[in-house]
C-alpha cells in the first residue's frame, strides 16, 4: 500500500459504513418510537415512572446493579425466561421509550428484572420485604448496609424503620436512596400488549416511529 489518501479513504469508508447502518439507520428506523395510545384502556403505554421511581433508576445505575441483572425478557422458545415467570411476552423496544438511560444488562448473575414490579405484586412482595432483602442480601446478592442508617429511637419510630434484634433503643432507617431504589424496582412492569407483541413469532422488530 503506497497511497496515503487512498488508505485513509478506505478507513473512512469502512467506519462510515457501520456507523451509517448501526447508528444512523437504526435511529431513523425507530428513534422516535412513541408510547402506544391504548383506546380501550384510555391511556398511553408504557407509563412514565413517577418521581421517586425515576430517581431510583439513577440509584440502580450508580450502584452498578446492571453488572448482575438484565432487563430484557427473551421470547418463549429462547431460554427459560417465560418459564421462570420473568414475563409472558418478549421485551420490545417500546417498553423502554421512557428510560433516559437504557440498561439492558449483559449477564444474569441474578434474575432478570424487566418485569420485577409485576412479579413482586403477584407474589405479594412489598417495599418492606424488599428493603429487608436489600439490607441482608441473599445467595450471590450482596447486602447493601450503606443504604440504611442506624439511629436512636426517639419518641416515635420512623416509618419503614426496622427493629434491630438485641438493640431495642435503635432502629434501622432506610435512606432516601434505598426507598427510591425499591420504588423503582416495584415500578418495573413491561406487560402491556402492543400491536407488535400480539403477533406470535415476530421477534423484537419494532414498528417505525409514529411521528
Amino acid at each position: 500500500m503506497k497511497s496515503s489518501p487512498l488508505f485513509f479513504l478506505g478507513l473512512f469508508s469502512a467506519l462510515a459504513l457501520s456507523l451509517t447502518a448501526l447508528v444512523l439507520a437504526t435511529n431513523a428506523q425507530y428513534g422516535s418510537l412513541a408510547p402506544f395510545a391504548d383506546a380501550t384502556a384510555g391511556a398511553a403505554f408504557p407509563q412514565a415512572p413517577l418521581g421517586l421511581a425515576a430517581r431510583g433508576h439513577m440509584v440502580y445505575r450508580d450502584l452498578g446493579c446492571a453488572a448482575c441483572h438484565t432487563q430484557q425478557v427473551r421470547r418463549a422458545d429462547f431460554g427459560s425466561d417465560k418459564e421462570r415467570g420473568w414475563g409472558d411476552r418478549q421485551s420490545v423496544a417500546r417498553d423502554y421509550v421512557h428510560e433516559d438511560r437504557v440498561l439492558l444488562g449483559e449477564i444474569r448473575i441474578g434474575p432478570d428484572l424487566a418485569n420485577f414490579g409485576a412479579r413482586a405484586a403477584a407474589h405479594g412482595l412489598g417495599a418492606a420485604q424488599l428493603l429487608a432483602f436489600l439490607h441482608n442480601g441473599q445467595g450471590a446478592m450482596p447486602a447493601y448496609p450503606f443504604l440504611f442508617v442506624k439511629q436512636l429511637v426517639t419518641d416515635q419510630r420512623s416509618p419503614d424503620a426496622f427493629a434491630i434484634p438485641g438493640l431495642p433503643d435503635y432502629e434501622l432507617v432506610p435512606t432516601h436512596r434505598a426507598e427510591a431504589l425499591v420504588a423503582y424496582l416495584l415500578s418495573l412492569k413491561a406487560d402491556h400488549e402492543y400491536p407488535e407483541t400480539r403477533q406470535p413469532a415476530t421477534p423484537a422488530a419494532p414498528e417505525k416511529g409514529t411521528k
Binding site: F7, V23, Y30, G31, C68, S80, E99, E106, I109
Partner: protein, 474 residues
C-alpha cells in the same frame, strides 16, 4: 542478564528510538501502573463473585462499581496507553524519521491519565454510565478525547512523514486505531451522553462502540506489534504476506458490525443481531489469514518477547473462532448472559491483546532507554504468572459459564443453586486474577528498576546485535 555477544553487527538503536523517549515512557509507565491498579480492582471484584459479603459494607467497593472501575482501568488505563506507545514507536521506527510533536504527545498522555484517574474515582463514587466498555463519567470524556487526539497527532505525523512511500502491515495496523478511536469515542459520547438517542438504540450504539474499541482499536494495536516482532526477532519472513492486506481490510470493513451478536433476542431490530452474527462468522476470514501469516510465531525460539506474542496470537485466533461459534443463535442460547461471554472477552483482552503488547514492551523499552532489562528472572516470573493466571481465570469462567448457561435454561434451578454450582470455578478464576496481579507486579518492578538503576556498562555495548537486548528462552 544476558551475556554480550562479541560479534559486532549493525547498531540496533538510533536517535529515532530515543526521540520518542519522553512521551513513550509516560505512556508505558502509566499503562503498567494502571495494569497493577486494574488488577487489584479485578481481584476484589472476582472475590465478590463467590463471596458477595467481601467489602460489601462500603458503597465505593460494591460489586457493580468495582466491576466498572476495573474494566475502565484495564481498557483506558492499560490497553490504550500501552497500545498508543507501541503504535507510536512502530510508526517512528518504520517511518525512519524521529518522532515529531513529542511535546504535544507528552502533554496529551499526561492529560489522558489525569482525566482517567478522575474518571475512575468518579466511577467508584457512583458516576458510572452503566454501558459496558464505556463506563467513564461524562465529565472526563471530552478531555480524554482531546488528549487521545494529541497523542495520535504524533503518530499520524510519523506516518505521513515516513521515508518510504511503501508501507508494511504493521504500519496499517498501527495507524488505524489513531483514527478509529477518536471517531467512535466521540460518536458514543454524543449519542449516549450529551444528546442521547432514545430507548434501546442506546444499547445498539453501546454495542457498536464496544465492538469497535475491541476489534478496531485494541486488536490492531496488538497486531501491529506482532507483525513487526515476528520477522524482526525470528529473522523469518511472514508466510503469505500478500494476504495480509486482505486480513486488514476484512477486519476494518466487517469488524465494526459484529457488536450486534450481543443483542441476540434483545428488544432491538432483528437485523442488528443478524448482521452481528453474519459479521462474526465473516471475520473468520481475517482470523485465518492472521493465523497463517504469523504461524511462525507458534514455536518461538530464542526470545521471551516472542513467547508472549505467541500466546497472544493463539488467544487471538481462538477467541475469534469462539466469537463466531457463540454468535450462532443455538449456541448463544446457552452462553448469552453467562460467565462464558465474560471469559470470551477476557480471552481477547487479557489474553490476545495483553500478551502481544507484553511482547512488544519487552522488545521496545530497552531500545527506548538504552539499557537491557535488569532481571530476566522477573520476566520469567511474569510470563509464568500471567500465563497460569490466564488459563485459570479464563478456563474457570468458561466452565462456570457453561454450567450457569445450562442451569439458567432449566427454569426449576433457582439462583442460589446456580451460585453454588459455579462457585468452585469462580474461586479458580480468583486464583487466576491473583496470579495475573503477581505477574503485573513483576513487570512493574522490573520496569521501575530499569528506569532507576544505572546500567553496568556503556549502553551502546548492548546494541551490537538485536539478540543482545533479548532474553533467551533457556
Amino acid at each position: 542478564m544476558t551475556s554480550i555477544p562479541t560479534n559486532v553487527a549493525q547498531p540496533e538503536t538510533s536517535g529515532i528510538d530515543t526521540s520518542a523517549r519522553c512521551p513513550l515512557l509516560i505512556l508505558i509507565g502509566s499503562a503498567i501502573a494502571w495494569l497493577v491498579v486494574g488488577g487489584g480492582l479485578a481481584l476484589i471484584a472476582s472475590i465478590q463473585l463467590h463471596t458477595p459479603g467481601f467489602l460489601a459494607h462500603c458503597p465505593f467497593l460494591t460489586y457493580g462499581r468495582m466491576q466498572a472501575a476495573q474494566e475502565t482501568a484495564f481498557l483506558y488505563g492499560w490497553a490504550i496507553n500501552a497500545g498508543l506507545a507501541v503504535s507510536l514507536w512502530l510508526l517512528v521506527r518504520l517511518g525512519g524519521v524521529p518522532l515529531r510533536a513529542t511535546g504535544l504527545a507528552a502533554v496529551g498522555a499526561i492529560f489522558w491519565n489525569l482525566a482517567l484517574a478522575l474518571g475512575v474515582a468518579g466511577i467508584l463514587a457512583g458516576d458510572l454510565t452503566g454501558f459496558a466498555f464505556f463506563q467513564l463519567p461524562a465529565y472526563v470524556q471530552p478531555v480524554m478525547f482531546v488528549a487521545y487526539a494529541a497523542v495520535a497527532v504524533a503518530g499520524v505525523l510519523a506516518w505521513t512523514g515516513r521515508r518510504n512511500a511503501f508501507t508494511f502491515a504493521t504500519q496499517w495496523y498501527a495507524v488505524a486505531p489513531l483514527f478509529v478511536f477518536p471517531w467512535v469515542f466521540s460518536v458514543a459520547q454524543v449519542t449516549l451522553l450529551f444528546a442521547p438517542v432514545h430507548g434501546t438504540l442506546q444499547a445498539v450504539v453501546a454495542a457498536w462502540f464496544g465492538q469497535n474499541l475491541g476489534a478496531l482499536v485494541l486488536a490492531p494495536f496488538a497486531l501491529a506489534a506482532i507483525y513487526y516482532l515476528l520477522p524482526k526477532i525470528s529473522g523469518r519472513p511472514i508466510h503469505h504476506y500478500d494476504y495480509s492486506a486482505h486480513a486488514f481490510w476484512a477486519l476494518l470493513v466487517i469488524g465494526g458490525w459484529a457488536g450486534g451478536r450481543q443483542l441476540i433476542g434483545g428488544p432491538v431490530p432483528v437485523w442488528v443481531a443478524t448482521t452481528g452474527i453474519i459479521a462474526s462468522v465473516l471475520l473468520l476470514f481475517h482470523y485465518v489469514i492472521v493465523g497463517v501469516n504469523l504461524a511462525g510465531a507458534c514455536c518461538p525460539r530464542g526470545s521471551l518477547a516472542l513467547r508472549f506474542s505467541a500466546i497472544g496470537l493463539k488467544a487471538y485466533v481462538f477467541g475469534g473462532v469462539l466469537n463466531a461459534v457463540t454468535a450462532i443463535r443455538g449456541v448463544a442460547m446457552l452462553t448469552q448472559f453467562t460467565f462464558f461471554s465474560v471469559a470470551q472477552a477476557q480471552l481477547l483482552l487479557d489474553g490476545a491483546f495483553t500478551f502481544m503488547i507484553f511482547g512488544a514492551i519487552y522488545f521496545l523499552v530497552p531500545r527506548l532507554v538504552g539499557k537491557p532489562w535488569p532481571s530476566s528472572a522477573l520476566i520469567r516470573v511474569h510470563f509464568a504468572a500471567v500465563l497460569a493466571g490466564l488459563v485459570l481465570k479464563v478456563g474457570g469462567l468458561f466452565v462456570a459459564g457453561w454450567i450457569q448457561g445450562g442451569d439458567l435454561n432449566h427454569a426449576a434451578v433457582n439462583f442460589p443453586t446456580i451460585a453454588g454450582d459455579v462457585s468452585l470455578w469462580l474461586i479458580a478464576a480468583t486464583a487466576g486474577q491473583a496470579l495475573t496481579l503477581l505477574g503485573s507486579l513483576a513487570l512493574a518492578l522490573n520496569f521501575t528498576r530499569l528506569l532507576v538503576v544505572r546500567a553496568g556498562q556503556p549502553a551502546s555495548e548492548h546494541f551490537r546485535t538485536p539478540a543482545a537486548l533479548e532474553v533467551p528462552v533457556s
